[in-house]
């Protein structure tokens, strides 16, 4: 029986392709952060400045990476502003490792989220309940009274 080498390559490639389809990692982040800055945030009563830095709860948000199989992944983060003030500095960090068979590393120091994509954490396999904490800096009385909002876009990329 004559073997057709092209057929074997085709089957191998198709298998590889299907694996690639099946093992694409997915990401879910739950938990918004909302904060009101007012008179109670004065540093020392009337005449004083507003406290400049605010932090969310250590587990304000949780991140799940699923469908990764045994594969390695990276989560990138960026800011998409709807109405934001240029003085605000938004930071995020990972305050725990979550649970699951996979691993997660990096991201334990605050990372300033900008409008440009940048790497936040890396890992492999499935990992859920990774706690995230946010920090806002740059608050002062020079920020006009208004409601400011931005969206953090997390993107999981297979490595």
């Amino acid at each position: 029986m004559r073997r057709h080498p092209g057929k074997a390559v085709l089957v191998f490639s198709a298998t590889l392709g299907l694996l690639g389809l099946v093992e694409a990692a997915n990401i879910v982040v739950r938990g918004a952060w909302s904060w009101t800055i007012g008179s109670g945030d004065l540093q020392a009563g009337p005449g004083s400045e507003l406290v400049g830095t605010y932090e969310s709860l250590p587990d304000q948000a949780t991140m799940n990476v699923t469908g990764a199989g045994q594969g390695a992944w990276r989560v990138d983060a960026q800011r998409i502003d709807s109405h934001w003030h240029a003085d605000f500095i938004l930071n995020i960090r990972r305050t725990g490792s979550g649970r699951g068979p996979g691993t997660v590393s990096g991201g334990t120091a605050y990372l300033t989220i900008t409008t440009m994509t940048q790497a936040f954490v890396t890992g492999s396999g499935n990992r859920s309940g990774i706690p995230l904490q946010e920090q806002l800096r740059g608050v002062s009385v020079s920020i006009p009274v208004a409601t400011y909002a931005t969206m953090i876009l997390y993107t999981v990329v297979d490595r």
Binding site: S34, I143, V145, A149
Partner: protein
């Protein structure tokens, strides 16, 4: 038939390999910060007593006693394009000693958004502007921070002065929206 098989396999390969290389999924989180209006005001204390004393020379009109040792300190945040004002008044039953009037000048520091003096006013029961154009600012909380309050007890009619006429009044300062 073989062509179809090749085509299907090829699509799977392309999709799969692209999945391996470019697989990316996204999630979002919303961060909302509300900067609320802050309107906080205090003073550094009470002015010294204003006492009409003997003139240096007999026959002269007594000098107007003054006190400028106190400050109004405020923190204000306003919406873009809006300002506040600082007003002063006393109660409906308050009055200066006979023959006198109580006058006040508030002088804010020449710093951004701390407002401008409205000049000297005569205190009455009607709230009157003493600083206008206050934007988003924090005057500071040091002993000489804020709008300096200069009180003058003006001797308007010496013939109406009554020895021993002693008045204690309460001045209300109000930081209010325009």
């Amino acid at each position: 038939m073989r062509t179809w098989k090749t085509l299907v396999a090829g699509i799977i390969v392309v999709l799969g390999v692209s999945g391996l290389i470019f697989a990316a999924a996204t999630a979002t989180q919303t961060v909302t910060m509300q900067v609320a209006a802050v309107c906080a005001l205090s003073t550094t204390g009470n002015p010294a007593a204003l006492v009409v004393a003997d003139p240096a020379l007999g026959g002269d009109t007594p000098a107007n006693p003054t006190s400028n040792t106190t400050y109004a300190q405020y923190t204000s945040t306003v919406a873009a394009g809006t300002t506040r004002r600082l007003q002063a008044n006393w109660g409906g039953t308050d009055a200066a000693p006979a023959g006198c009037s109580l006058r006040l000048t508030a002088t804010p520091a020449a710093l951004p958004n701390q407002g401008a003096s409205a000049g000297q006013i005569t205190i009455s029961s009607t709230p009157t502007n003493i600083v206008t154009g206050i934007g988003s600012c924090a005057t500071g909380t040091g002993p000489a921070n804020g709008a300096q309050l200069s009180y003058v007890l003006s001797v308007d009619n010496i013939a109406a002065l009554v020895a021993g006429d002693d008045h204690t009044v309460t001045i209300t300062l109000t930081l209010t929206d325009n």
